[in-house]
Structures are given as C-alpha cells and as structure tokens.
C-alpha cells in the first residue's frame, strides 16, 4: 500500500467532520472518495497534505509516518478545486515551480516541463499568461504542475467541477490516461459517481462520516 490513512478524526469546533476514517490507496492506482458536499472530502485531502492537523489518527506514505511532517516536505502533490495557478507566473513557470523549489538542475526542469506540457496537450502554451487560459487548459496546467516534482501521491480535489459537460467528459478521460501513463498513485475526491467511475480504479463512499466500500469498474 502506498498511502494508508489510519483512523483519522477531525472536528471543527463542536462539529465532527471526519470520524475514525480509514482508507488505503494502492500504489500506482487511482482511488476515488465519493460523497456529498459537507461530508469532509476536502478536509480529508487537506489533512493528507498537512494543511490541516487531524484530531487523531496517522497518515503513512510508503511505510513512513508523515503525520507530523510539514507540508513542503511530504512529497504530496495536490490539484486544488479552483486550480490556484500563480497569477504572476506564465504556464511554464507554474509547471516548473515545484522543481525550482527543490533546486533541480535547469536542464532537467526544462526537459521535465516540456514532457508534461506535451502530455497535457499544452506544448504551445508554455509562454502564455495563466490569465488567458480557458477552464480546461487551466486545469491541465494545475495537473502538470502538481505532477512535475513527481510526488509520491497526487491528491485531486473535485478536479472537474465547473467545466461544461463536453469538456468535463473529455478531461475525465484525459485525466485517467495521464494518471495511468505516469503510474501515479492518486486519491480523488468528488461528489459525482460517474466522474469517479471514469477516472478511478477503486471507489469509496463517504456518507455522514461513516464509510462503505464499493468497487468501481
């Protein structure tokens, strides 16, 4: 198992958002957690990324307890719901950001970014300002950026929300293809079961802080 979420609870004030949640994400596969809004899906991803501290429980990534490791050292990539592209950087610099933080050699960065931009179909857009991108393009940049530092696990927060139907279906398939091509271990949260079915290998249902497991596809 690549990612093990063990007995995680989280409450905000008096409100229990997650209660003793446990989940295992197999290496190289995409797992989806499906649940209605307010069921704690985004909270779960934030806890895994280290952006929120759980009340109890541990997170184990590739046999290492990362519960107390700060976010920037976790090797956890994340695609945020509204992309969060850096508005002051162009497409290429957005994708290169994580590699630059890790002080990777310039030539290696160029190679890797080029490869990723090819993969997401944005080869021509490298020098473009992110403010000029369409919704689908922005999502692809966010995906390429999160993949660039080769994270041990990729978290996707409602990755296809806000896209029109046609684009939604196409991007869902692209996403599945890209995750497969890069053998990325990924955890996806969404409120749409069909979306989860297209993208992921395993589906978990998150309902009212209790979970049931079902297998998709």
């Amino acid at each position: 198992m690549s990612l093990v979420i063990d007995n995680i609870s989280f409450s905000y004030g008096d409100r229990n958002i997650l209660r003793s949640f446990t989940l295992q994400v197999p290496t190289g596969s995409t797992t989806a957690v499906v649940g209605p809004s307010g069921s704690g899906k985004s909270t779960l991803l934030r806890i895994i990324a280290g952006l929120l501290t759980p009340t109890t429980g541990t997170i184990i990534l590739n046999s290492q307890d990362i519960s107390h490791v700060p976010t920037h050292l976790r090797s956890v990539g994340m695609v945020f719901q509204d992309n969060q592209l850096f508005p002051h950087l162009n497409v290429y610099d957005n994708v290169a950001f994580g590699l630059r933080m890790a002080k990777v050699d310039k030539r290696v960065i160029a190679e890797r970014c080029q490869g990723l931009l090819d993969l997401v179909g944005l080869t021509e857009a490298a020098k473009q300002s992110v403010s000029t991108l369409s919704g689908g393009e922005a999502k692809r940049v966010a995906l390429a950026r999160a993949l660039a530092p080769s994270p041990q696990v990729l978290l996707l927060d409602e990755p296809l929300t806000g896209l029109d139907n046609q684009l939604h279906d196409r991007l869902a398939q692209d996403l599945q293809r890209i995750l497969h091509a890069t053998s990325t271990t990924a955890l996806l949260v969404t409120h749409l079961i069909p979306e989860a079915e297209v993208i992921s290998d395993v589906i978990h249902h998150l309902v009212n802080q209790s979970q049931q497991e079902g297998v998709g596809q």
Binding site: A49, T71, H72, D82, Q84, F86, F97, G98, M101, A102
Partner: protein, 527 residues
Amino acid sequence: MDRPMVSHSSSVTARNYRLLAIPAAILVLVTAIIPLVVLSTTVVRSSDIISIWQNSAVQKALVFSVWQALVSTIFTILIGLIATWYLTRYQFRGRQALIALITVSFVLPTVAVGASFIAVLPTWLHHSTFAIVVAHVFFNISIVVRTVGPRWNSIHEDLVNCAHTLGATSLQTWRYVILPLGKSAIYSSAALTFFMCFTSYGIITILGGPGLATLDIEIYRRAVQLGDLSGATVLAVAQMLFITIAFLIWSRSRSVELMTFRVSAVSQRRLAIVPKIFIGAVTIFFLAPLLALSIASFHSGQNWSLSGWKVLLGIQNQRGLELDIWQALQTSGKYALIASCIALPTGIAATYALTKNGSTNSRWSSLAILPLAISPVVVGLAILVTYDFAPFEFRSSWFLIPIVHASIAMPFVVRAALPVVQGIPAELRSAAATLGASPWKRFCLVEMPLLRPAITTGVAFSVAISLGEFGATSFLTRRESQTLPIIIADLFGKAGAIPRASGMAASLLLVIVTAIIVLSVDRKPRV
C-alpha cells in the same frame, strides 16, 4: 470578459464628467502651479543656481535628506511588510485596534509625532538620526499596510497552500509567491515613503538638530532666518523638479497603486508564538510614544506637575510664554472646517472626472498621488512670494491657509472616493434612468447614499490633515492666528521645563482630537 458596456449616452456624459475636474484643477493651479512658476521665475538670482550647491550647509542637508530617507524607507518597508502580512492574513485579538492605531499614526500631526518621540526616547537620543528614522517608521508604516494590505488580502489561502504542496518552504513561499504578488504595491509604498521622508519637515523640526537638517529645513532657514529668498527658491525648485521627474519615471514604468484606507477579510488562522511577539512589539512601538506623551505632559522637569497644562490653558501665567490656546483651537477648527468644505466637493468631483463613467483613467489617477510627495514647505514659500503684490496681495490674508490645506487634503479625498465611485455599477445609474430619474435625481437618490463612506472618510481625513498641517502653515501663519501645530513647534523651540510640558500637552490635545475624528469614521474596518 470585463469589457465595459459602452452606450451612446455614456460617451456623451464622458465629456461632462471631465468638466468636473475643473474645480480641482483651479485649486491646484492657484495653490501650487502658479506659485511655483512665479517663485522660480521672479526671485532667483542666476548666480545662485550654481553657487548655492557649493554651500556646505546645503550639501550637508542634501546628503542627510537622501540617506535618512533611504534608511527610513528600508526599515519602514521591512517592518511594514511583516506587520501587513499578519494583519491581513490572521485573526487575533486586538487586530482591529492595531489597524486603527496604525491608520491614526499616518494622519497624526508631524510635530506631535516628533514630540511623542521626545517623550519616549532617552535624552541622549533626542536629536539624533536614530530618533528621526524611528519617527519616520512610526509615521509611514501605515502607507505599507494600506497599500500592500488589500493586495495581500486578496491572495487566496490555497495559493499559499499550493506553494507548500509543491515543496516550497515558508521562506520560499515569501520569496516566490507572496512578494512577487505584492510587488507593484510594495514599490509604490516604498517610493511614497521615500518621498515623504525626503520632504519630512515637522518631525525634523522637533527631532533634528545641528547636522540633522533636511533640504526642507534648509529652505525654511534660508527664506525666513537668513532672508536669502533666491537661494531658498533654487533649492525648492530643484527639489520639486527632482521629485516630479523621479515620480514620472517611476509611474511610467509601473502602475501606481492608490492607497486605500481599508484592510478587510482575514482567515481564521491563529498566530504562532513568534508572530505574536512581533505583533506585540509593533503594538508597543505604536502605543509607547503616545503613552509617553501623555505622561510627559504631566511632568515638569523630574516631577509630576500640572504646570504644562495650566500654562497651556491660560490658568497659570509664565513669563515669556503668552499662549492663547483657545484662539489657536478656534483658528485650527475654523481652518479645518473651511478646508474640508473645499476639499470634499472638489475631490469628489475630481474622482468622477477620473473614473469617467466607471473606468479609471490610470495616467491621471496616478497623478493624484503626486501632491503627497510635494513638500508643503515649498508650497508655503511659493505662495508667500507669489501673493505679495497688488492686486494679489493675499499673503497676510487668513483665508490663504485653509485653501492651501484643502489642496493638500484633496488627494486624500480622491483616494478615499476612488474605489467607492468605481464600485458603483454603471447599470445602477441606467436602472434609475429607466425608472424615470433625472441625472440630478440619480446622483442624489442613488449615488449619494452609496458615496457616504467616501464622504465621511474624506471629511475626516481633510479635517485631520488641516489640523496637523505644519510645513506650509509655518510660512503663512500670522501672530494673531496661529494654529495648534505652530504653537507646539514654538513651545519646543523654547528652553525650560514648562514650555516643554506645555508643548507635550498641546501635542496630546492635537493627537486626541485627530484620533477621535479619524477613528469615528474608521473604527469599523470591514471584516
């Protein structure tokens, strides 16, 4: 797309809107441009244009002006940026009070700020570069908070989170995300701070001393004490040209951020211990001088005493100190009232001219920030020289002072009103028009109520600026109609414990009045 809707009627009214700039243009023409042109063309002896720069006092003043302004700007930006980050991104107890305190510090009368630092610093630091720099930091941090704050405030928390998930440390996030996103606002506030410190006058009148004179002080000394009007004018014009050219170059290369007076939303995150200590230190930095000022006003020498207040209020007589504080209060109040009555309508009208039906003309709105950087001392001197011959012999007329105050306050009114006017959707006017409202009714019934926050802020800042104005007033003041800041500077110029205590008391009085006025409109920053 944010393409503004262009209708036939808007292109017609655009011209009318531009006409609204006329009162502001007249005000600037009468109080700044004509006097400066007259000044530079009449009293200058051509020999002075070169020779004045060989004068060692002038050289020293020039060097000191530049380097104290540089040091002050660096510290203001460093401390200001960290404070801004915590104030705009975190929720903590006393946050709003601290924002209010920082806001008030910017409109406090400069002589009162000087007096506060005399009160809080040990005697051996009273007339030192250190004191000047610290007072400048105190005075100008507000510029950073108010300029960079709204920009950083709008950064989504997840953008910062995202940088962390990509492996960026806190320091890297600052360097590659937070600072670049605030870049233009940071440059704007740095430039404005530099100009403010470079032309600092009131603070240096109190905290300066031998070898610690800026160009403004040298201009005043030459014009008033040495009677060398020609030399003073060369310096004044040179300073004006330098600031204007520097400003134009700088504003061409980047968009000028306009200072806004509100710092809004924050996340619910709590402060860690080190930031808490930092915020505590900043709070003490802003409170201590004001507390020390209050204490010092009740001290005469080493002992507790009411003499300072008694002499100030005319209850106790002191030889050589003939004060008429009631007269000064009356004069200050009258000037403030007239100044705001002129600055408010002129400024609001100018704002409409600038926004031209919703879209801001950035070139002109960047000019609205320029008067802030022009030295009031130079303006005072220019007016003194210009309105000295028939039929314009106004130099001894009392009404010249509130008019000058109005022209100094007007940019503040524009800055307060600009975001508000821009925020009024054009469709709202159209909707009122389709409901049968005439242009005048549309203004009175739709726009006026929406403009109210801008009007109250504009009035408060005009009054505060007029009450504290010292640079121009020091040239134009008459013995029988002195304002409070003039009296304070006089008191600090006199030897002895009692004049000093009275000076502290008068400063405290001015601080309290200013703070009440500003806080009454700014006490509830939107959260």
